[in-house]
């Protein structure tokens, strides 16, 4: 077994290296990776070598949206067998701290998360993970779909935070991969009015094809909404989105803006008793993600716009930078 990995050696440089095949611990599975989605955070690390306080100080393997096949198991593994196709939840929390105990394991300060320095990610032939964070992939789902359970989880988490329910009216701002998936998730939650806005016409066209009840050019006035899912990181979109909310509506802020602070229409938040929150990753979403994809409620392949071999990981990372119509690249190690 040879384990090649696409390594970020410094900003804007990816080098293919041979690494030892990782040894699974007693409750780990060793997974041969077959598909890895490129996430905006991968691109950000590639370009800037950091995201906020997370700084890449040593060569790092990127990639945290992954699926593959179990090829070996630790001695105490009970849930998976060699040969199983699995999708990987990329963050393993401590399971003991206050956040973990409260069911908020996404906020565990000791989480070990793929492709977050100094933990390597999945742009490689092999990775290991605790068996409880590998989930069996049903036959009807492709490896690519398996990889995209991760951004789908982001969308599910946002819709859950919004308290979304059938018949709701939802506004999604930003039609990148997360916005497009959040939009599909909103439809899967039974939302009957799902508007999405963006500056890019090709992205809006993709939104229309995948179910948006209305696609708006940024700046167009949205209809009243029960929930806002902000996925653009854009301050004007955030403010306009909040203004569209009905009394007691909820804004869930997923997109990262450029700064630490942002201006919000606070008097409106007060007068209408709006709720605002943000999301950080997700918790308890993988079973839902798999069920939604397996039942055809969401179409993950619809947002894939490029496939790349491991050797072309750098091209995959650059695809979205070069053309916003390149929504989601998938690397196949």
């Amino acid at each position: 077994m040879i384990n090649r990995a696409a390594v970020l050696t410094r900003p804007s440089e990816i080098v293919l290296e041979e690494r030892p095949v990782p040894e699974p611990g007693p409750r780990d599975v060793l997974v041969e990776v077959s598909a890895v989605g490129v996430c905006g955070s991968d691109v950000h690390y590639y370009e800037h070598g950091r995201i906020g306080s997370h700084v890449v100080r040593a060569p790092l393997v990127l990639g945290h949206e992954s699926a593959g096949r179990v090829v070996a198991t630790g001695d105490a593994v009970a849930k998976h067998a060699v040969g199983d196709r699995v999708t990987l939840e990329p963050g393993v929390p401590c399971g003991r701290c206050r956040e973990c105990r409260a069911g908020r394991y996404n906020l565990c300060p000791e989480v070990v998360f793929f492709a977050t320095p100094p933990v390597d990610g999945a742009f490689a032939n092999y990775v290991t993970i605790h068996e409880d964070f590998a989930f069996a992939l049903p036959d009807g789902l492709s490896d690519e779909a398996g990889a995209l359970m991760e951004p789908l989880s982001v969308g599910i988490w946002a819709c859950r935070k919004a308290g979304m329910s059938a018949g709701d009216r939802v506004l999604v701002t930003g039609a990148g991969p997360i916005g497009l998936l959040a939009m599909q998730v909103a439809l899967a939650f039974g939302a009957t009015q799902v508007e999405i806005s963006d500056v890019s016409e090709p992205r809006l066209e993709l939104a229309r094809r995948t179910g948006a009840t209305r696609a708006l050019k940024a700046g167009e006035v949205p209809a009243e909404a029960d929930a806002l899912i902000e996925c653009s990181g854009n301050s004007a979109a955030l403010q306009a989105g909040i203004r569209a909310l009905r009394p007691a509506g909820t804004a869930v802020i997923v997109g990262m803006g450029p700064g630490e602070t942002a201006e919000i229409p606070l008097a409106l938040v007060q007068n209408r008793e709006l709720w605002l929150t943000g999301t950080f990753r997700y918790a308890n979403t993988y079973p839902t993600a798999i069920a939604l994809a397996a039942s055809g409620r969401v179409d993950l392949e619809a947002i894939i716009t490029g496939h790349y071999p491991l050797e072309e990981t750098e091209r995959a990372l650059r695809a979205g930078l070069e053309d916003p119509a390149n929504v989601k690249a998938v690397v196949h190690p």
Copy 2:
């Protein structure tokens, strides 16, 4: 204008009578009724002259699942105009009591509800109702669909009480009109495993056709479920349904059983920290019901098994008694 009404004069006797056309109050609309669904409670009043403490002491017009067309409006009506097609939420609460103020207006002790003694219902040519309890019916929806917003509301309310969300696994016990609609609503809420049980094969067949992921003969063992929606009123079904729930799952009891009390597996409720509740009518469901039907998420006509003119209201009431395959009769005044 002539106002004929099908009147329950005593148990098992429906007489067609001519009644004065009701006069709308300042904020009422006068509606020419075009479709009225027959509910199990109508049938129960017809057969027994009472439901629990609600006793029919004077001639009563039955029917509370209704739609029609506005033909006159009170002086202060602002929301509807003559000619509008509307569906009617049949209970008008006081709007002031503790339950109303808390948003639980379905529990208002002073509610005025169609076809609940001594308030007349909608098996008639004309009814009046407060404008806020008439809801515009979109063009794409038939009058029959409009009438069935009422039982659809029962299903929506049950799914809300269950805290249902996308990817959930749901068991519906009882495939009568309420169970069949609750099942469709569960699918509209994004549930991906929706099992339904009944004793009647034709009803199970209808369930399969309208989306059940599995239809079980009563007694078959269901899969583990996040939520139970009990719609049969049968004690064995209730107990088996509760046993199917995952830890911390929720049982919502919609079907009325024969007695005041029932036996439940209490040790299991404790050891698994299950939640049990029941539903009484519904609140804040009509906009959702209309949105789900208008967007095609639920198919109301699929459960209609018979159409009757007002003259044949009694036949409509007896249809379900004679054959359980007669799921839902609609009367057209």
Copy 3:
């Protein structure tokens, strides 16, 4: 019966006028007012003639924190009798709109609210109100306490929005009347760490006397908190308060700031999945307010710093402007 009223004729001018005694409608009670608290909003109208889009265009009677004695009842009144001591919930909502039906009657767009233009308030000998918005005052509670059920309600509403529970750690920013009452309410909800901050030493001293576990000079670093109740309207306090929240904590913003928008630490809101909301008045709080005061869980008289006859309403309005140690003035018509 003579009905004198303290009328705001233009900014900074209060004139005592004789007005007709109002006639109670069929479900109204006529109340002889005995105590009326001065609220910051009264002072704001007095000084500026407006609050945001609410503009005083005609002479207006201020005052919405009131209690008194029933002296006459409408024909259909069932809940109160002449002689009853009552506290008045000053906003009567429509009871029919979407917000009312959902239990959010404080957001009713058609609410009729004391001392909000063009509706007169309670700085007068007599007012009328729907019987359901008058609440019996237990014997052990003074009229002044009765008047202060209104600001107490604001504190209760804020603590409910925060999801506060026993053992919680709470930060209140701003030790004006609302902050001081919210602090007492937090203690009544079982919070065991209740810190409060202000710029005024006399207010902090009052906070210490009424139960604060720690009183901070503005700028001092608070301990980690489960909930923030922002009552200062100050942007720096808001930001510092948000930074003090634990992951998944909640900020409830009660104080009105000077502008329409405000800057918040959005990256923190996202990374810690904080919740932010604002309050607008309150709903379903009066029974709780009375129960808390009657059981001695909160001490309303502790924050009263001045008593004034109706003739000195203007002095009462100016008291807080002149010295921040004047926390709460009460007018006795």
Copy 4:
């Protein structure tokens, strides 16, 4: 160091044995036990050798309400040092399964829980536990109070399940140790009407002394309540308690009844949309328990009715059987 333990060798036989001092794992603390409360489940194991499906098949050390002093720590322990006084949360869950991840770790099927066969408990000189399940005991709290954080947690969990909030009206049925503590917790949550019922006058007297707003002889009619905390295991009390609930009220069933099933007034549950649930142990309660006790909101020593050395563990176990006035025995190893 000598480790003596009081061992249940067969039903109704406790033998004092010398056991090896347990060796702490890398993240465990070794605790010298100073106080252990006797729980009804200990008594049940002592009398019957089983509780439901939990059967004592080998000699078992009982006792799971414990506090003591850290005397040694594993290599990786970071939170406690030798000499620290601690109270022990007696169940250590897996931290990985569906229930743990969802924050419902009390429902973890792989939990290791003191004094639940085959896991030994704390009627011994020494025990070990994972450092995250030992909690520092503030100076002001005695070791006995530390031991009683466990039954206090049961009360906190019940009140949380009830959604209890300030101003609520609560009925507790059963004034044994759990009922008496649940009653105190309800008061600490701000409940202003807290009624408690029992058959034993001495227990009711103790309830009155510790804050009950009314103590009822079983059979007396309680006032309307927002929440029922059923702690008697008695079917008549459960039914009467449910009947006392207001519409949409909540019944939390803590007491174990004699059988697997129980009869409930189901029609009432439906017509009033009541909520019913049960509790199984607790989760995330220890910090709250300690905060409530340390701040004086609950008085744990008030319910202690006997102290025993380890040699008299059997007498401690028999105390409550012999006289219901013996509410809570504490063993001091």
